[in-house]
């Protein structure tokens, strides 16, 4: 996906405030990756941070991974083993609501069994901050 931060801002804003699509996860992870590259302030968030995230849909049709290491982020469009945290989500909307807590739906996502988290929950809290911090920096969330 060809992407710059301006384009990303527009697209992710549409996804957060409008109709969410299956591109949401890819857009989010790649936007983060891009922002780490361009913004030293944002990159400071992952100084010394190691973490392996696996995101997948309940039917296992969609999977993506994010690996943080040595102040860098790697995004893969496949599952990884040995994750620190695994997020299984029903659909893109559930994932969006879970991460951005739009309309404060984070709990509802879990309660409705739309999102299931395995592993260390603190990694999800960290990820939630990273996502919202990016949104704040770009004025989209």
């Amino acid at each position: 996906m060809g992407l710059n931060l301006d384009l990303w801002s527009t697209k992710i804003k549409d996804e957060i405030y409008g109709e969410v699509t299956d591109e949401f996860l890819e857009l989010l992870l790649k936007g983060m990756d891009l922002a780490f590259f361009f913004s030293s302030g944002y990159r400071r968030n992952i100084d010394g941070f190691k973490g392996r995230y696996l995101f997948r849909t309940s039917d296992n049709k969609v999977a993506a991974s994010a690996i943080f290491k040595d102040g860098d982020m790697q995004v893969r469009d496949s599952a990884i083993a040995d994750w620190d945290v695994r997020v299984t989500f029903k659909n893109a909307k559930a994932l969006r609501d879970f991460i951005f807590s739009k309309n404060q739906d984070i709990l509802n996502s879990i309660l409705a069994n739309e999102v299931e988290v395995d592993g260390n929950l603190n990694y999800i809290y960290k990820f939630g901050f990273l996502a919202r911090d990016l949104g704040k920096r770009l004025g989209v969330a």
Binding site: F49, Q104, I110, N113, N120, K126, F129, R132, D133
Partner: protein, 854 residues
Amino acid sequence: MPEITFKDLSLKDFDLTKRANDLRVAYFKAMPEICTERPHLVTQFSLQEGLFKRPKISILDKARLYRYVLSNRKAIVWNNKSFKKGMIPFEFNDNSLFAGSTTTKFKGVPLYPEFLALALWPELWTITKRANNPFYISEDDAKELNYNIFPYWMENNISELARKRMFEENRTKLKIDKYAPEMKLLERIVFFLASKPNCISHTIPDFSRAINEGLRAVIDDAKDRGSKTSDTSQKEFYKAISEVLEGIIAYSRNLANKAKEMAAVETDRTRKNELLNIYEVNSHVPEYPARTFREGLTTIWICWIACHLENPNVGLSLGRLDQVLYNLYRHDIDNNVMTIEQAIELISCLWIKIGDHVPTIPDAGEQLFGGTGSNQAITIGGVDKEGKDAVNDLTYVMLRATELMMLRDPNLNARYYNGINSTEYLKRLCEVNVTTRATPAIHNDKAVIRALTGKGDSIEHARDYGVIGCVEPCSNGRTYGHTGAILFNLTSVLELTLFNGRHRHTGMDLMISKETGSPVNFTSFEQFQKAFEEQARWLVTQATNLNNIFGKVHQDYYPTPILSALFEGPMEKGKDVIQGGAVINSSGATIIGLADVADSLSAIQKVVFEEKSLSFKEMLAAIENDFKGYEILQKRLMNPDKTPKYGNDDDAADKNVTWLITTLDKVFGEKENYRGGRYRVGYWTMTNHAGFGRLMKALPSGRKARENFTSGITPVSSVTPVLTKTLNSVAKQPAECIANGAAFNLKYTPETSTTEKRDVMLKNFAASVEGCFDYAGTGTGAMEIQFNITTHDMFVDAVKNPDKYPELLVRVSGYTAYFKDLNPQMQKEIIDRTEYLLSNGNYVYYEPFPLQKK
């Protein structure tokens, strides 16, 4: 038995002093602010000392940590700045009689990265603006948490350490990886909640030794005991006690010195003298024995601050303050050292201080269970260890201060021993309830003492009980009972029974527990009860296993030297409270959904098995369809004339409640906790009956999906039209099986428009308590009653215009709260509670209040 010297027990001639009033005004104006001082100091010390890399943290490590924090925290004598609504800064004249604070803020949110503080991480940029109970945080503090504090605790907080421990155990035992079944149940929320990931709390420290002997004497005692033992763990324990107590003394001295510094430059003579008084008091206590009432209160306050540096405040309670402080009070009054007005002012200032912090609750928690304070209970009245009347002048002083201040914290609990305490005292308790609308809760000494002795407490210890958190009785300062360890959703047991080990919330294709047979094939109600008991035993086993694992993690990583130094037992045993050092070592579970499950059992018994007017298959179909297409059945199930309902003095229904209570007492009582004690069961629900209600689907009782459950041990609202029958149904339940306390919520219409009506109301009010505490003259009765005395119209108006009612106090289920802080689900639950007119004993009908959006 102390003589009551007041002619007018209401002390109505004494009003709020200007000082207390100014503090109160500022208190209600101030928004909570997140404070990073504690997490900063704790993280800094842990890094310096390499604590993150230790396989275990010793009690001495912890003690050194707390001494470091106590010695290095900012000494704040007065804090005259805060933020008001809209996060606008404001200043006020803080001249409290007590120096020091739980955080660096006037109304602070203390953070504990060792526990659940990291849940706030995603909200750091938004928490100031969130809809439910926002907290102020500066950008610098948010950055400090993000960069310099939270990252170090990702692998090191109690939840994660417990999860890893379970993984390791499961890897070898179950041959499964990265999965802990009990933890998964907890994460699914609908089965039970565990509070150990958030704290070791819900207990009452013993302040008497600190007040009467001073901490220096305790240090000397610890040194002496340490020198005489050859046991290395005991030696370490006693060394740890000295460390933390030196830390507490250092903190108080720092406050004293700061006050002296401020006095040196203060030009106002009155303020200068006040600062010098603080210097004198804090230089002396808590190191040495308190000589005055004010010094006694200061000792408690400084020790209380220290307790909250060690553990988040979730129901940590202060105990029988009117007993512990009475001698100092009497001495000062008799010797003209203090006037009654000054005593009320001191208590008022302490009450404000006690509420100087609010719990850390992430947004998700606010949505489900929001509005709670720290539930710091204070106990007054009742009988003493010998069984004699313990009500004294200080009891009435505390009641007056409570009436004048009308604060959420502390949560005042009054004990009443029918036949020993006076009826004038009971009437005064009722009067304060009418004035404040919601406090104090009234506890039945006879029933509580019977419950505690039934669990093995000595009669002297049982008589000396204090109330913890919401309503839980424990022997004051000597029972480590973590009474809120498990919050157990009983309706999930019903669900697992109805669906043969499955739960509609988690999906019917997922086996949660075990198969106990499809109820469709049951031929008797007894078969259903047997299956229910099996499912209850299974879920109780999961919940207690998890609590015990958390307890072991606390033992390895989170020893509690400060609490241990202020407790009866640890000094004698040379052992931390978390290791079983207390005199009495129990654990507490509380049950959510009692009345809803009991009414469901009654419906199944009557309609399916006795009348056979409905098959079990049809019952299941009705609840799976949320009674859509089954409206007539639902009406029938909700009609107490056709289906037995708890709360109508109907033996058929009440027996099912009794069966549940005795069964749960038996099943929990079979379980041993990680300290060698037993589990005790209670029925108080805080806001969880609304939270869990929101998650659960329709029930055989006729309750529809997502509706609130009923609070505590209270019967279901709107099906109990006659007050006396309701009182009887609750009063006949077996107190000996309710050792972890029960909250019985009643709502009375305030009938106070004339003096005559008010007098009648108070008389009937007291009679309702007497009747409930002494069921049909048997000497037995309900454990406790608590009240809301606000009109329906006022509640409705408060929903629509929250700014008009910033101070409207309500009784939730155990604790008091400000109505405006409650989430819409909880507000609805309180509005929909059955309201009775004491003038005729009947309920007042209102249409169910529609759920609001916030």
